[in-house]
Symmetry: C2
Subunit: 166 residues, 2 copies
DNA sequence: GAAACTATGTCAGTTATATTGACATATATA
DNA sequence: TATATATGTCAATATAACTGACATAGTTTC
């Protein structure tokens, strides 16, 4: 941290550091979504479909409202995306067993295949970044990212070893 | 890293770790944009306007094509957003001095005020996360984020101390 | 058992952000 | 002079979100 743009002004340094943090999030997210978006476009799907497929693959048997609270979108928005995925055979809905109003969501084989193709890309990108940066850096990355996330509920999705720092 | 969900399968652990990375990016970005979006909505502006205001504030005197290559959108998309910002007095355009075809962009006072309000929110979020995580973790965060970003051109926006690891 | 609440779905209208393609203008460079 | 570049604009389209209103089936509570 010695070679900063402006010299020895600690206030500027702090601002520069924080702005870099902001920008890194923007650039990382932009590049992280670019390739999956291209794969999805070939099938007439968009980023919203990816998010649904991803989380249903991650938590099979999740309900529609689980999905709504993760994505933080309205049910009307989800509806169009989800019903397209069901219609086109990527996602299967089972009636809930304890509560029969619920629709338990899971990927079909077709859905799982697409999920793999999409996530593979992002997984590789993360893997390369993690490997290049080293285990210690990965710990730091996780601590910071966890601090950026709002809801304790979402932070709880991540592992206990990180959570205990709070 | 001792308490993982599944026990002692190292392959599972790796997959779990990578998926956490993917999800952290999603959740962090989702929460990072939520509050500025709300402020913008009051003025009839959206996230796209924020990005323009942010980068023009960051690099005063940048050209339209600089902005296009950072945002990676088409000029037609930028056009509507940028001309609204000019029309409503957030951004001022000067004719380029060396090349008079260029429009050099800078924030007006009104624009700078909005930029401050919007960025303040994100800056505070990052600041809190950085402070809670500690300096070492911040280094790790930056290393990993830099690894996720594609273009060397964009990586070069960040500081030399990190860049030299490559 | 009726009333209230919950999970989900759907209709209709609207907004923001992006796209592609075509063309125009001013300026710079070979 | 010819060509390339920086910018702007018109038109049509797509996607992903929103709000509001209403419907249905199933669960819970009084």
């Amino acid at each position: 941290m010695t070679l900063m743009k402006s010299g020895a002004n600690p206030l500027f340094l702090r601002d520069e550091e924080l702005r870099q943090g902001i920008e890194m999030l923007f650039f990382a997210y932009r590049d992280f979504t670019a390739e999956p978006d291209a794969i999805l476009a070939e099938r007439g799907l968009g980023r919203a479909h990816h998010r649904v497929i991803y989380f249903v693959g991650r938590y099979p048997g999740m309900t529609v409202s689980d999905l709504l609270s993760i994505l933080k979108i309205t049910k009307q928005s989800l509806s169009r995306v989800l019903s397209q995925l069901v219609r086109e055979g990527y996602i299967h809905q089972d009636q809930g067993v304890e509560d029969r109003r619920q629709r338990l969501l899971r990927l079909t084989d077709k859905g799982a295949q697409l999920e793999k193709e999409l996530t593979e890309n992002q997984r590789q990108r993360i893997e390369r970044a993690f490997r290049d940066a080293g285990a210690e850096a990965v710990d730091g990355f996780r601590k910071v990212m966890l601090g950026i996330v709002n809801a304790a509920e979402d932070r709880d999705r991540f592992d206990a070893a990180i959570r205990k720092r709070r």
